[in-house]
Symmetry: C2
Subunit: 225 residues, 2 copies
Amino acid sequence: MSRAVVLLSGGLDSATTAAVARSEGFELYAISFDYGQRHTRELESAKLVATSIGVKDHLIISFDLRAMGGSALTDDINVPLDRKTENMAETIPITYVPARNTIFLSFALGYAETLKAYDIFIGVSEVDYSGYPDCRIEYIEAFERMANLATKAGIEGTGRFRIRTPLIDLSKADAIRRGLKLGLDYSLTWSCYMGDKKPCGRCDSCKLRLAAFAEVGIDDPLEYM
Amino acid sequence: MSRAVVLLSGGLDSATTAAVARSEGFELYAISFDYGQRHTRELESAKLVATSIGVKDHLIISFDLRAMGGSALTDDINVPLDRKTENMAETIPITYVPARNTIFLSFALGYAETLKAYDIFIGVSEVDYSGYPDCRIEYIEAFERMANLATKAGIEGTGRFRIRTPLIDLSKADAIRRGLKLGLDYSLTWSCYMGDKKPCGRCDSCKLRLAAFAEVGIDDPLEYM
C-alpha cells in the first residue's frame, strides 16, 4: 500500500482532498499546523476529519508565525467582513500569510521523505482561489521541481515527489459534489477565519463556502452565528 | 538602506555569510531555528554572532522536527564520529535532516516578505558541502524561482527575491580567510553536532572545521574536548 501525505487544515478543501487521496487507495499521513492562526478551532476539525477519513497518523507541527506579522490571520489586523465573493480574486487579501503554503509544503516534504511517501496532497484550487499566489499551479509545479532537488530521495532517484492537487480545476461547489460522492461529512469541517465558537458567515472564507453550498443546492451542515 | 534576511545557525559558514552581507551595506535581519537539534548550543552562538555583527533584529523560530525523525541530528541515532573528511561527500550522511534547508528558507522567505527585504543570505557551499542535497546551487536556483511565484511581492512585481550564496564556490578555508578579513570573531561560532559544552572534534562538522583552520594555518579559537 503506497503512502501519501495530505495537508489537512480542517477546512472544506483539504478535507475533500484527503477523501480523494483515500479513494485512490493510499495509506494516508495527515499533517496540520498550529501557527498562531486566530482560528485554531480549525485544528479540532482537522483531527475529526483525520479520524473520519481513517489516516494512519496525524502530525501537528507547532510554530508561531505571529512573530513575523504581516497577515490578518496572525496579526492584530481586522479580518475583512462582508466582501462580495465576485470581488475577492481581484487583489491579494490581507488574510494572505507570507509564504504560508511554502512553509506548510516544506514540512510535508520532510515528513514525506522520512515516510518514503512520494505523493503529497494539497487542496489548492485555481478556480475559487481567493487571490492567494501560492494556490496557483505554476507555483505548485515550481515547488515540486525544487522538492526533487532538495531531497535525498529526489537526487538519489529512489523516489520522485509529486505535489498532488486534485481540486486545482474544481470550483468549490464541484469540490463539495466530489466530497459528497466520496461520503465526506462536511459537518466535521471548519472554514471560518474568525476564532469564535460558530462560523461568522461574513469573512471571505465563510462567504465562499456558503456560496458554494448554495450553488450545489444543499444546506451547509454548520450552524452559523 | 536595503534590508536583507540572513539564516544564522551559529556555525562558521552562516556567520561568515552574515559578515559578507553586512559588508555589502545591508540592514540585517537574522533568523535562527530551534528545531529539536541535539546541538541547541549553536543557538547561543547565533545570538552572540548576531550581536557582534550588529543585526537589526534576530528572530528565533521554534518547532520540533524530532516528531518526524529520520536524522541523527534530531533522532536517537548516533552521530558518526572519526570519519575521514575526504570520504564525507561520497554519500549523504545520516546527519542529513529531510527538507531542512527548504523549511528554513521558507520561513526566511515569509520573514523577508513582511520586511520588504528581497535578499536572503544562506551559507551553503558546493565545495565542502558534506553531501547534503540542499546545499547545491541547482537546488538554490529552484528555490528562488519557486519563491517568486509563491509570494505577493513576487507575482505583483514589487520585489524580486534573490537567494544569496556568497560561499557557494568557497572552500571552508577560503570562507575563514574571507571572514577574518571582515573582522569576524570565530570564537563566537559553533560547529559541533554533539550537544556538549565543548566541541567534540570528532563529528563530520568538527572534522571539516578543524581541517579548514589547519589549511588556513591558524589555530581554531575554540577549545575542544
